[in-house]
Symmetry: C2
Subunit: 204 residues, 2 copies
């Protein structure tokens, strides 16, 4: 049986692997952790997915693809820049409140072992077109000021920053303000309006 046609046990292993890898990263996770989480024997992991590395690549690719497809959809279905900003904000909230560890996972891998993710980015280059489209929209909007590519790039960078970074420091926020996870996501839900405002102000 190949990795592509996976049965019930295989999917259980994949789910367990996701859970473990996402929390602990590649080098922090062990095959035993994953086997226990999936209620199978260590040998089963190797039977289905050959090695730890192969299994990890599958998980990383799966998560990356889900993220990218949602973001692409968001960037492409809206017409004006204001709607895109609001929708992107919604999109981040929905993904990351449902999967609180995804952002950290991707960032950790990007910094400790950029190779995997950079390869995915290059192979799935079509996201670039969506970003380019947003760049043009931003340029048109702020063209009056005096057109400047770097300014547009910085605008997008700021947009992404305010949408993702707060989720990355969730453990810190939770600890400082003595919150529960639920409080945090509630805070982030209310914040949606503020951070859209924040970004939109710059356009006006």
């Amino acid at each position: 049986m190949t990795m592509l046609e996976v049965n019930e046990t295989g999917t259980r292993i994949l789910a367990a692997a996701q859970k473990v890898f996402i929390r602990k990263g590649f080098s922090g996770s062990t095959m035993e952790n994953i086997a226990n989480e999936a209620n199978v024997n260590k040998a089963a992991l190797h039977y289905y997915f050959r090695s730890k590395e192969k299994l990890f690549e599958l998980i990383l690719k799966e998560i990356y693809m889900i993220l990218i497809s949602k973001i692409k959809e968001t960037l492409e279905t809206k017409e004006c820049i204001e709607d895109i900003i609001k929708e992107l904000n919604n999109c981040c909230f929905e993904i990351l409140s449902e999967n609180p560890y995804w952002a950290n996972f991707i960032m950790n891998e990007l910094s400790t072992n950029p190779h995997y993710i950079l390869e995915l980015v290059i192979k799935n280059g079509r996201i670039n077109f969506s970003v380019l489209r947003v760049l043009v929209l931003v340029r048109n909007k702020i063209f009056k000021k005096s057109y400047d590519l770097e300014y547009s790039l910085n605008f997008i960078l700021n947009l992404i920053s305010v949408n993702i970074f707060p989720y990355l420091i969730r453990p810190l926020i939770i600890s400082l303000f003595k919150m529960e996870d639920a409080n945090f996501f509630n805070f982030m839900k209310n914040r949606k309006i503020d951070s859209s405002d924040f970004v939109l102000k710059v356009l006006k």
Copy 2:
């Protein structure tokens, strides 16, 4: 000899440990990596610092303290919020262009093993006062609008986000725009003006 009075070999080990831990994280690093980097024997590491964990804690604490003291200084020496914003921006640039891996290192540890950092945050609670002071400054500035604690908090969150997040995705930016490291930091240097503008606009 204790860990506090460390001779030349000890400092060489500390420097090597910093280099290795920062790039690979705790679980991604081995004592052999560090020993090679320091040009000493593995046994020396244990002689000076007892265990991998103790050595790691020292490195983490050292970096955390440097970061916090610089940020505190920035937050406290300036009087008006506009100056603080600009100075914070400078501060991040100076630290992170000189130590490109620090931001990622702290974030990775915060997400894979929050315990260490949260303990440091709690033990060195004095940073909270500086942040509180900024919060009050922000509140006074935007009070006209209608005072709102959450709004002020979000403002600070946005401020931190645009200052740190771009450094976190450096590998991605470098790869996408086919930059060298030097180009990236040059870009970030120019960006300083834009991102201050970005944040300041909201106050106006």
